[in-house]
Amino acid sequence: MSIQIQRGKAITVDRRTRKTPMGQGLLRGLGVIWKHWSASFQKNDSYKKIQGTFTIEYPEERRQLPEAYRNMPILLYDEQSGHEFCTSCFQCERICPPQVIHMTQAKDPATGKPVPAVESFEIEYDACMSCGLCAEVCPFEAIKMDHTFELSTHDHPSLTVDKTALNRPTTYYAQIAPRMWEEVKENAYKKLAANMKRRSDLIGIAPQMQEQLREQLARAPQAEPAPEAVASASTTADDKAARLAAIRAANAAKRANSENGQAAQGDATQSADDKAARLAAIRAANAAKRAAQQAQASEAPETAPSESASPADDKAARLAAIRAANAAKRAAQQAQASEAPETAASESTSPADEKAARLAAIRAANAAKRAAAAAEKGQEE
């Protein structure tokens, strides 16, 4: 047999045919086991060690998962605008090896033309092989791999999940995979901004956010019949309404602020108050948005004829919006600060509510900010 071997040679393994006294090998083997056993009371915390306990007590203790870890795909939305990144380009549906992604594209209700947004999106989690190809091919960074792996359930059909269950805010992804998100973030937002221009109304808004919007629309007339009714009538009235809502929001946020301080002991009123704050904040956000839209729409044609009335009003609206933004921001800070002690004290309801309030406050702040910017722009023109 002549087999040429470059850069190396064939070495015959040593069979160690020499005899050890009978039984000694066994004893030495036991020695090794003894060594490992006695070392097993210590934690093996380094790759350099080959002894010690290297297991962890799973449900209580959890490994830090690497960023690249992939389990099931999720969809991302921008929690400030509420817009989903997905444009229903069908790339992921096409690449998925077991073909478990199903989607339909959204259509503009007015024109019937397809819009770069997704109407329904379903993934059969039970048949997904976690290959990660969908996340890899997505040009809009809309689909990413989640780190949650505890998905077992008795209810098999529930493993076919829809858009509502798949959606996660970008902050969530930035938290589980900070470096990977940082790399693609800019690109993702650039593309989203371009796509948002081609969406109208509620199209492309994450269902989570949509519900809040709709809920708000349904509730607003009962709570505030007057401004809501007048709102459609004229610009100034609308501006006024926005101002009113903003002021109310500011007040509510302030109240929430002070209440939060007292509620540190965790009494019952706190959650109710939080709800109120949340509601107010949502209302403020929406009103501010509406004001901004109105301002933008009305500014262009109207600047000349109604110069006398609107600037003053606009100014007031802007002021109110700014004030609301500030109050909301403060509320958010307060909420964040009070989270730590409170979770311990009143664990049952408050964290969820608190979170919601915080979210709403942030949203309000953003909306108000945008309103202010729009108003300012209008002013300059």
Binding site: I11, Y47, P97
Partner: protein, 369 residues
């Protein structure tokens, strides 16, 4: 002398020992095997036919599921086949990353195989736990780069899916530092224990000629004394840049097969150290930017083979110019190495069957596909 009847016994198909779902049809004279026929196909998943319905890239995650111990090696063989078919270049750094992954795979496969040998002989879980500890460390590294411990799906045409994260190389250094201690301990446990020696020496001898006529490859062939390793015989990727030796056995029994595996782990460590030294710094050049993943290779065919931890793993692809392979065929080392099982076991006691089977080192996912 008492006269006894022949007895026919089915071992399996539910997990005969720890090696997956297949059936051993045995004819026994007392406790001695007269005839043994391996019956497989219980884990058939239509892999090759599925491969013809999928696009080239879609097949990549499926190759993970062949030999699920060695997903990186499977990825490598498949990526090489498509690259050959479509003429895709691989950047230097990607080649080194690939070699690092595949050699780590070899170490974890052999550590596992040896751990299971002890299991098969009744040293229930002790040594296996030690092997699994080392294996888990390597799987941690795989998870770090690819996102999954076993179904890595890490290779792409023209490179690998993402570059090494910054924490990878220090962790690998630590791992390689600890490895000699682990391998030496494993070898001592294997070669000093009298029970183990009695159970493995001169059991299941595979003579050279028989090995060749059965097309056996990998550690099993080398244990029979033939220094044939595709990394040397037909260097693919960048294996011609490393110094390493080929361990061979002198008898070809179960014992030799395990000694060869242990020595191969040492050689793999040598390769890893060299690869770490030579690894180019060009971060980000882990994939050829010009390589399209959604390939449409020209009409033609390609066969590539690699030295997977279990033997020669080959992918044969025929392209008809579309995005899907026209024919997708796998030469699976586990499957071919399993065929001489009947010859290996004849004349041995029934208790040795499990040990011999373990020494072949099969994964049923690859045998049945």
């Amino acid at each position: 002398m008492l006269s006894t009847d022949e007895l026919q016994i089915n071992i399996g198909p539910q997990h005969p020992s720890t090696h997956g779902v297949f059936r051993l049809l045995t004819r026994l004279e007392g406790e001695t095997i007269i005839e043994l026929t391996p019956v497989f196909g219980y884990l058939h998943r239509n892999h090759e036919q599925l491969g013809e319905a999928n696009s080239y890239l879609q097949n990549m995650p499926f190759t993970d599921r062949l030999d699920y111990f060695n997903s990186m090696a499977n990825n490598h063989a498949y990526a090489l086949a498509v690259e050959k078919l479509a003429g895709i270049e691989v950047p230097e750094r990607a080649e080194y990353i690939r070699v690092i992954m595949v050699e780590l795979t070899r170490i974890l496969n052999h550590a596992g195989a040896i751990g299971f040998l002890f299991n098969d002989m009744g040293a229930w879980q002790t040594q296996l736990a030690f092997s699994m500890r080392e294996r888990e460390k390597i799987l941690d590294l795989f998870e770090m780069v690819s996102g999954a411990r076993m179904m890595c799906n890490y290779f792409r045409f023209g490179g690998v899916v993402r570059d090494l994260p910054p924490e990878f190389l220090p962790a690998l250094q630590d791992l390689l530092e600890a490895m000699p201690a682990f391998i030496d301990e494993l070898e001592r446990l294997l070669s000093e224990n009298e029970i183990l020696l009695a159970r493995t020496q001169n059991i299941g001898i595979l003579p050279k000629e028989l090995a060749i006529s059965y097309s056996v490859t990998g550690p099993m062939l080398r244990a029979s004394g033939i220094p044939y390793d595709i990394r040397k015989a037909e260097p693919y990727s960048i294996y011609d840049r490393f110094d390493f030796d080929i361990p061979i056995g002198s008898v070809g029994d179960v014992y030799d097969r395990f000694l060869v595996r242990i020595e191969e782990m040492r050689q793999s460590r040598r390769i890893l150290l060299q690869a770490l030294e030579q690894l180019p710094d060009a971060t980000g050049s882990h994939i050829n930017p010009k390589a399209r993943q959604n390939v449409r290779p020209p009409v033609g065919d390609a066969y590539t083979r690699i030295e997977s931890p279990k033997g020669e793993l080959g992918f044969y692809l025929v392209s008809d110019g579309s995005t899907k392979p026209y024919r997708y065929k796998i030469r699976a080392p586990s499957f071919i190495n399993l065929t001489p099982l009947g010859d290996l076991c004849r004349g041995h006691k029934i208790a040795d069957v499990v040990v011999i089977l373990g020494s072949i080192d099969i994964v049923l996912g690859e045998v049945d596909r």
